[in-house]
Amino acid sequence: MTQTRSTATETDDQKNRSPSSGATGMKLIVPLQGVVQGRGGLLLGSLIPCALFYFLQLYLKRNRSKNSSNPPSPSASSSNLPELPRSSSRTNLSSRGSIGRVPVSSLANMIAKPDSSPYYIGLERVFLDPYDPVNNPDGIIQLGLSANKLCLDLIEKWLSANVKESLIGTDDVSLSINGIAAYQPFDGTEEMKMAMSNFMSLVLGGSVKFDPSNIILTSGGTPAIEILSFCLADQGNAFLVPSPYYPGFDRDFRWRTGVDLIPVYCRSTDNFSLSITALEQAYSQARKRGVKVRGILFSNPSNPVGNLLSQDMLHSLVEFAQEKNIHIISDEIYAGSMYGSEKFVSIAEVLDLEYIDKSRVHIIYGLSKDFALPGFRVGALYSFNESVLAAAKKLTRFCSIPAPTQRLVASMLSDQRFVQEYISTNQKRIREVHKEFEAGLNKLGIKCAKSSAGVYCWADMSELIRPYSEKGELDLWEKFLSVAKISITPGSACHCIEPGWFRICFTTLDLEDIPLVIERFGRVVETCKSSG
């Protein structure tokens, strides 16, 4: 974020309110007389234009505040107001003064613009016309939001049986509601940290014991990512990120921090795997441009591809970071959503060598994907760096998890029998749906990248796009939205360098839904093939 004032906005505002030249003219005539008549010489000759300028500014300024009592928009003129009933919804406010004559920050101006990323546009379109099998069978099916609905029944069942005790508590005072009303440590209760670290120990590969004192809890993974960006880099610095990557990183890592993300392009020829060579190249190029690289950010399992980083690759990454003296952020939020035969390896597993400085490694986790509770906003930042933990802890005052939610979730995660059942059932169901869904796509001639985890397929539709470019890809994306009524995520939104790839989430579907969805895909695929 640069230190620009929003002079652009103000200038526009000034233009809107420029006084009529006649009125200004009158003020100008008098002082000019002296100059015109040749009196005063050089001093007056330079003084007078300055004075004129000053008076002009004064005039404009006064005019601006006078005008601010009359909203410029005709639909919002004061004379309409008495007709509006007082008790009516204040949405009529939106017709008045919403141009925002009083300036907001540059950041706000940027964020207020309509979202241009297909990722967000897709979400919006589904919001406006959502598919419902009974009420809106022609609505748009959401396959662009990676949410997992497959095991909600299990969670629902647990909550019905347990929620009252886990929330309101028993006679034990320490468990009563009084205990959750008061201020809690912003970075999470002891109980919740314990439950979360145990859960992570189970789900992130099962080979590492995560320490509750190294965890910071946040309201979702989103603020955890932002906190790390604030703590590890200064404005203008950058992180390297293998591409394609999760579109949300652009917002979470960059928006308010002023830190940049430099994509390190991965290609379909090696199944979008990361290579150290590519990292080296990106790093040197950044240095040549004078950009300071502070670290590497990646998702493992990868989003949107769904592949895993091998133990060797993790070693190499840690050594690369060591050599350059930079940080590593590993977003392992999909670690529990495995369906392939490979085993997940957390970056925490490769840190036991003596020469490795653990303090450069940070892990993001959360319950939105593996545990299907995005609405509950439960995220975690795990770090081996005491200073990062100290700073992050203070920053959680802006993004704490409510105490009742922590109580409830801690209780749920501590039910080991339930957790085991949940994890294995979840993996089984993901595997089943993935298999069926990918088979359905294959029948249409659509191949997917090889993947073992996540809640989506990374599908190659490059043969269906015309031209073979981002434009062709976006045309196809729009066709899927308007003709097939399916929302999927185009690769360009994920910064994929090869056009034609799409992320398709399948965990919002039941097995029974798959034929319908494949049929819709078919509509567009057929039209593309026939026109091709």
Binding site: R90, A112, V163, D252, N325, R397, F398, P404
Partner: protein, 447 residues
């Protein structure tokens, strides 16, 4: 007072190592003293009594009773089929409509219906702390300034400045007029910014005021509105204590003034609210931004992704806050109990020879100990504060940590403890004052 952190080989950012979090001030030092030796009626009767935390525990029983009698608030058994699915997956930054509606209605009730609130203008955040920071990101660029009347809540230094890079320029208020904000003081603060080429973006007020414990008068609010309009800047009104005014008539919200003028110029006004004080639920992390400016609403909503409230908590509270019978009774009873507490502490302090600012709201009183200062300076104030904390063992907040320009004032919280504990605290103060008086007498007689 630099903290020695052993820097690891890999560097951190300036934000991470800066001390703008402000946690080294006496405000927080007092809390540490309390944490190390907390008062307990039975197990630690000589411990430090916490009077530095503005928490409302006087009305909690009503909330507890409600939740026990209405299990549907916390369970999903009575929800419509599929209700749970939607709730668990719901992460829309608009927030649950039912909850926003309940918040709007609650805010309306607190203001006696004198202002209406549109649920579609309610933006949810995880606490007022986040709401204030979010608004600062939206209204000001790094290097710009907000004008804030002194004395002010110490947390603002952190919430408004830390990550945003925005500065606070104080609007100096003093006891000559009961610390009210004057047009002269507003203009002086603005000019101070101008003289340092700093752009002022907003005035931020807390109404009722923390730490003064008093509501801002209507005429002063009108002056402030006129000022911000003239300068074409924003006004943020943090009304977190609006439900804690001792009587319903005493609090005037900027929302009422705007409504009375048909919302003329309203798009520069934004209100912050939270359930942490009025409802005594700081652990729930529920804050809101209410803005009359569409762009600010849109932007705040998008930015609230970093600070969403869990749908589970939204649902829990929506049920409770929509119950108008409950909320009406709660608001009335809470006001009454706070007023009684206030009277109790004022009586106790008066009988010890201590004067306070006349207050009518909040969870604290603004106590004047300036007659006791050895020197009328910040150092003198801290010299007085130290023995109060460590010998008398009362954690009260020195005015300097609230940026008060007059030394000798202290904020004393009274709602975060039982009546018995408050009696103990008042006894300790009485003894302290008594000892001081006898020391002074003996000094005098020895001359």
């Amino acid at each position: 007072m630099a903290i020695e952190i052993e820097q690891p080989c890999v560097e951190l950012s300036n934000v991470a190592v800066s001390e703008t979090h402000g946690e080294d001030s006496p405000y927080f030092a007092g809390w540490k003293a309390y944490d190390e030796n907390p008062y307990d009626e039975l197990t630690n009767p000589s411990g430090v009594i916490q009077m530095g935390l503005a928490e409302n525990q006087v009305s909690f029983d009503m909330v507890e009773k409600y939740l026990e009698q209405h299990p549907e608030a916390s369970t999903w058994g009575k929800g419509a089929p599929g209700w749970f699915r939607e709730n668990a997956l719901f992460q829309d930054y608009h927030g649950l409509k039912s909850f926003r509606t309940a918040m709007a209605s609650f805010m309306q009730q607190i203001r006696g219906g004198r202002a209406k609130f549109d649920p579609d203008r309610v933006v949810l955040t995880a606490g007022a702390t986040a709401a204030n920071e979010l608004l600062t990101f939206i209204l000001a660029n790094p290097g710009d300034a907000l004008l804030v009347p002194t004395p002010y809540y110490p947390g603002f230094d952190r919430d408004l400045c830390w990550r945003t890079g925005v500065k606070i320029i104080p609007i100096h208020c003093d006891s000559s007029n009961n610390f009210q904000i004057t047009p002269k003081a507003l203009e002086a603060a603005y000019q101070q910014a101008v003289s340092t080429y700093t752009k002022v973006r907003a005035v931020l007020i807390t109404n009722p005021s923390n730490p003064l414990g008093a509501t801002i008068q209507r005429s002063v609010l009108e002056d402030i509105l006129e000022f911000v309009t003239r300068k074409n800047i924003h006004l943020v009104s943090d009304e977190i204590y609006s439900g804690s005014a001792f009587s319903a008539d005493e609090f005037v919200s900027v929302a009422e003034i705007l409504e009375a003028r048909d919302y003329k110029d309203a798009e520069r006004v934004h209100i912050v609210y939270s359930l942490s004080k009025d409802l005594g639920l700081p652990g729930f992390r529920v804050g809101t931004i209410y803005s009359y400016n569409d762009r600010v609403v849109t932007t705040a909503r998008r930015m609230s992704s970093f600070t969403l409230i869990s749908s589970q908590t939204q649902h829990l509270l929506a049920t409770m806050l929509s119950d108008e019978e409950f909320t009406e009774n709660y608001i009335k009873t809470n006001r009454e109990r706070l007023r009684k507490r206030y009277e109790m502490i004022i009586d106790g302090l008066t009988s010890s020879g201590i004067e306070c600012l006349k207050g009518n709201a909040g969870l604290f009183c603004w106590m004047n100990l300036s007659p006791l200062l050895e020197k009328p300076t910040r150092e003198g104030e801290l010299e007085l504060w130290n023995p109060i904390l460590h010998e008398v063992r009362l954690n009260i907040s020195p005015g300097s940590s609230c940026h008060c320009s007059e030394p000798g004032w202290f904020r004393v919280c009274f709602a975060n403890m039982s009546e018995q504990t408050l009696e103990v605290a008042l006894d300790r103060i009485r003894n302290f004052m008594h000892e001081r008086a006898s020391v002074n007498r003996s000094l005098f007689s020895n001359r």
